[in-house]
Amino acid sequence: MGAPLLEVENLKVHFETEDGLVKAVDGISYTVDRGQTLGIVGESGSGKSVSSLTVMGLTRSRNARISGTVRFNGKDLLGASEEDMRSIRGNDIAMIFQDPLSSLHPFYKVGAQIAEGVRAHRDVSKAQAWDRAVEMLSLVGIPEPRKRADAYPHEFSGGMRQRAMIAMALANDPKLLIADEPTTALDVTVQAQILELIERLQSEFDTAVVVITHDLGVVAEMADEISVMYAGRIVEKADTDTIFAAPEHPYTWGLLSSIPRLDASRDEELVPIPGRPPSLINLPGGCSFHPRCPYVREAHKKVDPKLEPVAGNPGHQSACLLDSSVRRKLWSELRTGVKPDEARADVMAAEEKAV
């Protein structure tokens, strides 16, 4: 196997603001192989969107300070010229966004917006580009594509708009598709259809996909690997099965227990993570998650945890200061339906005994 398609190394995106330095992305690394799907999961403001916009070269603020490396197909993207980036955007790397209505231009016909993207990268006539747009619309399952290409975005339903966005993104056969919260703005019933569509097209075109979401449920089916982000950093990464079966970070536990599980009993309560994401200007000292972590110790407020391989599984990394055995014990209790508070009490008691 050659080099990965996308390689992000120690990427930092900081913004200088009146109120201080916002560390939106603070040293994250990940790779995506051809045809593979990576899920990046985190609450809003965890830096997941900023990091992928940076990959696309779309972090346009004058106050952004970007460091690290982003290599795509072996080519350094952060150092690339604007002209080079332009030829990559929408051609090799395409992106779809959360709200398809606001992401489509209200004044242009859907077909024209897709055709425009085609003509930006291909030397084809307007008619050919239009035909390609119609072809793509039919591919993403829009009925009567020739007629619908002639309609404006506001004449589409939410799901159809997102299909059109996907058609636009895939029109140039990109090698990598970044989907930023692709289903968040959609009805629950439509969400599954869109995810299915992305999966189907991915296998058809052998596209690598990065799915960014706040909802682990979205990536459960489609992702090969998952990175969990919190406050600008990756706090846990592993293959999807491991994330769901043996997560090692309290934040991931929190995310897992806030999604409904199909295999759980009906009366299982969903437990939201208490508190709010921290200010990225004044990050809490030590582990950034400590103010919201039910299992916090005094020491965690001072030591900054590193993302380290979990014992026994080199592909699984976690940034948590809790002892590995404690983490496993906690998780095994939590998955049987124990509340975080109860689990915490148990661990405390066990530790006291040990002392």
Binding site: V22, S44, L58, L280
Partner: protein, 330 residues
């Protein structure tokens, strides 16, 4: 003129991200909205200078007679042939008449001071009344809804579709004939100018306030207050009104300079302020004399220009400080 490098600039980098976080938590949240507003406004040096100018101008207007005595200028209405030369042409600026005199020998400095009083009086009273009426009717419409709302909203729609200023000009000129209007009940002058200002301004205020109240009354904190047994009055004054301060300030800051210009324009056309010196009226009188007496148009014109400019600068500064992410002027 927002050129801020605020956190809001980053909005397009992550539209559901940074802004929320920067504003969401300590230490930013620890500041009160007013302190935050002042902190942002203070950074705008130009607006601060303009604000200082306005404060001085208000003082000058209030103390006009005192200042006039200090520099030894005659009263604004006093004519004097001494200041006219042998051909009956007015004199330019001298130590005796700082800004020169007009064609019937009145001291322009004293008249510019007098004009400041008129300008500010009309602008403040007109704007104040418009905002009061607009806020009151807008709140009634938005809060009580029902037929009251329908009625007020219709009136607003119709007034906004009307060429109110043009009709106002007509009214002012119809009532500027020597007999006035309605058997003298509507006299030409200040009253009609303020009436026109209020008539043309209040629908804009009412419309925006109505919209805000309609959305505010559904907010959680209002619901919470209601469930705690708060009465309508309490909800209006304690929960809703404080949230309307920002749009009210923005509108007032837009209206004041516009109203100063409106008063000046009406007075320029001869249907505005009578009996007192007004900048617009002085410019009108100066129209035929620009070749012989430049000071006649220059001083009132500059007074008008600087005053409106200062209010516009402060208004821009306030809007930027209240709403740093919006760049819209309206």
């Amino acid at each position: 003129m927002s050129t801020g490098t605020g956190a809001s600039d980053l909005l397009h980098a992550d539209d559901h991200g940074i802004d929320q976080i920067v504003a969401g938590e300590a230490p930013v949240a620890a500041r009160s909205p007013l302190a935050l507003f002042w902190r942002r406004f203070r950074k705008d040096k130009v607006a601060l200078v303009a604000l200082t100018f306005i404060v001085l101008l208000v003082l000058v207007a209030i103390l006009a007679p005192v200042i006039r005595n200090l520099v030894g200028a005659p009263p604004p209405g006093q004519t004097s042939t001494d200041a006219l030369d042998d051909f009956g042409l007015p004199q330019g600026p001298t130590s005796e008449h700082l800004f020169g005199v007009d064609s019937i020998g009145r001291d322009i400095f004293a008249r510019v001071l007098d004009g400041a009083r008129v300008s500010l009086l009309v602008a403040f009273i007109g704007t104040g009344l418009s905002v009061t009426i607009g806020v009151t009717l807008g709140m009634i419409a938005g809060f009580f809804r029902g037929w009251v709302d329908t009625l007020i909203a219709r009136v607003i729609d119709i007034l906004l579709a009307f060429p109110v200023l043009l009709l106002g000009l007509g009214l002012a000129s119809a009532c500027s004939t020597k007999d006035g209007c309605l058997g003298g009940a509507l006299e030409p002058g200040l009253t009609i100018v303020i009436f026109i200002i209020v008539l043309s301004n209040w629908p804009y205020v009412a419309r925006i306030i109505r919209g805000q109240v309609l959305s505010l009354r559904e907010k959680e904190f209002v619901e919470a207050s209601r469930s705690l047994g708060a009465g309508n009055m309490r909800i209006i004054f304690r929960e809703i009104l404080p949230n309307l301060v920002a749009p009210i300030i923005v509108y007032a800051s837009l209206f004041i300079p516009a109203n100063i210009l409106l008063e000046a324009a009406l007075s320029f056309l001869g249907v505005g302020v009578t009996g007192q010196a007004s900048w617009g009226q002085m410019l009108s009188e100066a129209t035929g004399k620009i070749d012989t007496a430049w000071w006649y148009m220059f001083f009132p014109g500059m007074a008008l220009l600087l005053t409106v400019l200062a209010f516009n600068l402060v208004g821009d500064g306030m809007q930027d400080a209240l709403n740093p992410k919006g760049n819209k002027q309206k």
